[in-house]
Symmetry: D2
Subunit: 338 residues, 4 copies
């Protein structure tokens, strides 16, 4: 199978992870072009990864005839413009989450994609591609836990990186749109349903500055899904133990719990603190393999003409939920999704 030729737009922290994966860790593709607003950074990464086609202007990358597919890892506000650039140039698109920073823009993205039915579009909710989540989903499809009663989702950043977290906070989009949106996607994926009613709460338990951004440092919410499944989510910015993403699916026949102890090591440490497991301290380590697996899947879809999931609609729905949760949080009211 010929390797898919991918150009990447955006090689910041997460973009760099994707660039390395595309270049070196995903057999199905190769990295052929790089674009970044910071052209020096683009050149540096290009040199490291052996990519000579380096562009300041993403349009140039999209129009590079050697590029077959474009990976968009830019700031959220530019996603939809980039999707348009790439698709209008006839390129398949992999776009990082979240799809856009407003529901209106999400709908615009849907139109663009609809206008290019021959091109593949995939949204990067990478959690779905994590090994543990994939096993869980297979067990669910296999009927191992019966029908879904409750999905519980925790997403916590570690206190160890709080400095960066606080710096990034004002332009992050906030807890609901930046962080919990992953869980909104998981809730939809795992329940197979949409929220009917939701109520979100929270506050500034330690970092009062979140108030200035109409946000909380810790928030949570309860949802009633169309199919009556229940969903609870919690998001925090400063977990003592690590980068803690935990998901639980309670079913009528059994329960699956993913990552109650968030670690990639099989090491137990016996010390004066007891028997301890040390945890992930950053999300890129946590999801490293999931980023690879989602890219393999994207290549596979392009190469075999398969429609990938999560798709643009998944992006729109998760964004809708995020905005309604934020509204519920701000008004302290029970809301319907629409």
């Amino acid at each position: 199978m010929k390797k898919l030729k991918i150009g990447i737009i955006g090689v910041g922290r997460l973009g760099y992870e994707h660039a390395c994966n595309i270049a070196n860790r995903v057999p199905e593709c190769e990295l052929v072009a790089i674009s970044d607003a910071n052209i020096a950074r683009a050149k540096e990464v290009g040199e490291e990864l052996g990519v000579s086609a380096v562009y300041e202007n993403p349009k140039d990358l999209c129009e590079d005839p050697n590029v077959e597919a474009v990976a968009i890892i830019t700031n959220t506000a530019s996603h939809v413009d980039m999707i348009k650039l790439a698709m209008d140039a006839g390129k398949h698109v992999f776009c990082e989450k979240p799809l856009a920073e407003t529901v209106e823009k999400c709908l615009k993205a849907e139109e663009i994609i609809k206008a290019h039915p021959d091109l593949i579009f995939m949204l990067g909710f990478m959690r779905r591609f994590d090994h543990s989540y994939q096993i869980a989903k297979k067990k669910m499809e296999n009927g191992d836990i019966g029908d879904v009663i409750l999905v519980r989702c925790y997403s916590q950043d570690p206190i160890s990186i709080i400095k960066g977290t606080l710096e990034y906070a004002p332009r992050s989009g906030g807890q609901f749109i930046d962080m919990s949106i992953h869980d909104f996607d998981l809730i939809r994926w795992l329940t197979g349903s949409e929220p009917k009613k939701l109520w979100a709460i929270g506050g500034c338990y330690e970092f009062k500055q979140y108030k200035d951004w109409d946000d909380g440092d810790n928030v949570s919410g309860l949802m009633q899904m169309e199919n009556d499944a229940m969903a609870f989510f919690f998001a925090g910015r400063a977990a003592a133990h690590g980068s803690a993403v935990e998901t639980e699916i309670v079913g009528t026949r059994g329960t699956l719990r993913i990552s109650a102890v968030p670690t990639d090591s099989l090491l137990e440490v016996m010390s004066s603190h007891g028997v301890c497991r040390e945890c992930y301290q950053d999300f890129i380590s946590r999801w490293h393999q999931a980023y690879i697996t989602e890219m393999e899947y994207f290549c596979n879809c392009v190469q075999n003409g398969i429609k990938p999931y999560p798709d643009v609609h998944d992006g729109t729905q998760a964004t809708k939920i995020a905005f309604r949760c934020k509204e519920s949080f701000l008004k302290n009211e029970l809301l319907t999704l629409e």
Copy 2:
């Protein structure tokens, strides 16, 4: 220290557990009298435990001059009457949860107890006395986890006893008043606050008969406390793995999780199912030591004139929350506590 002489009213399943503890496992007291509507059962237990004072009428037990304190383990509907009988006869009272089946009756209990300020009254929310919860509470008081952000409570009966669960269901009071009331007490105890707003949902995911009792086989709810702490509870009737009561306290400095694997054995079984921990299959085994510890504490309070907690007001508040949750569940509305 002289042993406290306790008479017990009600020696059904849980009453028998208490009777055995009082007679044989709590050094601070002795069992001196037994009353049960089923007099044959009372006699049988009396014979087994060497107690000759056996009464059909609880009034007779309360008036037995040898009895110093009365343990009430009857059906919920009779609790307040029993409290009155015992206190009017000048006896200290230990009463099983829930305090009563209506808030009105709870308030009546408050009056009775207020009228006997010299007598000790304690309500049996035994979870507070479980070893793990006591360690957790001490760590919280010690400031180990900072301020409380979220309390999460699960209470699940095991599928292995579903037959009994379903038989008992119609007269149990329902998920909120019978089961989740424990968690309402824990939430109040662990947050040190009262609910400001709450929303409860759920449904009949497997056992449709719960519908007939205006109940669900699985329910959950989210609460915003007066102090802005968040609380989530979930209650189910048929967990595949066992009698699963799990409580988690997320704080600004750390998190405490109690009983993610609900077992009293330190055994791991390596089999074709993987590495497994087998779980409790009934609540009496789960809380056996907590029932003993709460009775030791009750005796200690009587003997030393200490006001015990949980008290009657804790019973009223938990009942109030239970009824508001049920109302929220039935109306599918966001409610305030009052």
Copy 3:
């Protein structure tokens, strides 16, 4: 059932635990007499537990006609003499481990007991009565793990009590006879076989003073049993995390592991150390319930005329193994048991 009237000889640290259990926590018996070389201590405990028959001389306790059975919790060197006193006075005997400090004395104990075939004798290897070990044994008897391949035993005291450990060390009998003897009993019990060959090693890894007592602060050994099962034991005096007794049985069909995380709490602590379980810091907490269960079993055997296990022969065999291990350790030679 009439309560068995027990007199206790020795109310030091562990003797006090037994005295409290007999008096207050084992329904099948009552404490009717106390003897201790330290008569003031005996009186103090008697007062606390409501026992008026207090003796300086154990012979007097044995001859007290109100005493039906004697619990011997004295120093090891006096065990056999106490057994003789008690049995010659016609009393059933529960004796703490180890049976004696020499194999010769063990054999003498066997003779004494043989001479009183109508009296019950039980040796207190309490680990067999721990809930987790009892479940494990039942699973083995049920065939769940097939045939035994390997038994692995760890016994470690915690560093938190090292001061007391070092003070007690010179008169403890040493690692093999004081500590590992528990594991020798478990190995015999779990494999159903006797050692054919053994090799023990070790050293003074931190506390050089053990050298003066012909001992090591950490030792281990490998045994080949008559039935070809393998057994490995390890004993240490200063585990960082706690009082760590771990036992594993590897079978042809499965494996059972007991107490890899030695704790009586169901609490997980999420902190900067990761996800931690805090551990037992003393053996009396660890085995509290086992001490109760073994006493219940002893009473039951007396009351129903059942021959109890572990018996005197179990004591002799474990002592034999301990001495051969010590010899192997001192000579650094592979030895047979006999």
Copy 4:
């Protein structure tokens, strides 16, 4: 950095894993040539991985001027010949474990390598490169657990692949040389010492055919190291739960335990079996990332002129230990290493 051009000899099961890693998952190298006695297989892999230089004769691969380094993944008996071929052709060598099937051949390998001091040689004991082992080693070097007292090593194949295990057994070299040799390397690496004395035992607990190969289906052994550290190893062919490689290092200040639950998933399954973790069922999944990491390290050593570990001497020593253990097992005698 220019990618290291590697030719691989042997693309059987494990060879194929290495070939894929070199070609697609290790950024520091590329796969430029393939040789296999089964030329059809070599061609097939070459086609899949885009490698056109395919040879039946390994000598041709070694002499291919485009090849800078050779990875040897052939049967053990041919390792030393292949090393000679490659080094005489001026190529750096990565060689799978075990180094050779006799100590004499190991020593011959040492000579060959000594004769090419300018070439890099590395032996593939991949366990050292596993993430958990690397963290453990770093903690040890950091002094976190003080001095090493005991290393305990388990290596068990799962029952789920027993058919293949038994087919491979006659030509595997046996438990000590094929399986436990990994643990012998770990013991040397973790204690920093060589065995002084050792005793190995075992038997045919289920699969009597191992007797025909002078082997056991389960074996274990105890070692006393030159520095007085103790080491225990256990190897089995049919663990019920999975591919179970567990290593524990007990130190004077703490203990490290790796892979007590051997799984790459963060999933807990709550079912009628309790709370379960499912385990690895094959060694290639277990060590997938370690195989990649060791190859990255090898490339790094070649590119920067660093002498890699494990080296040829590590191979010789582990083989020596394996043979002495086998001798001890067959004679049932305590042996010194030399």
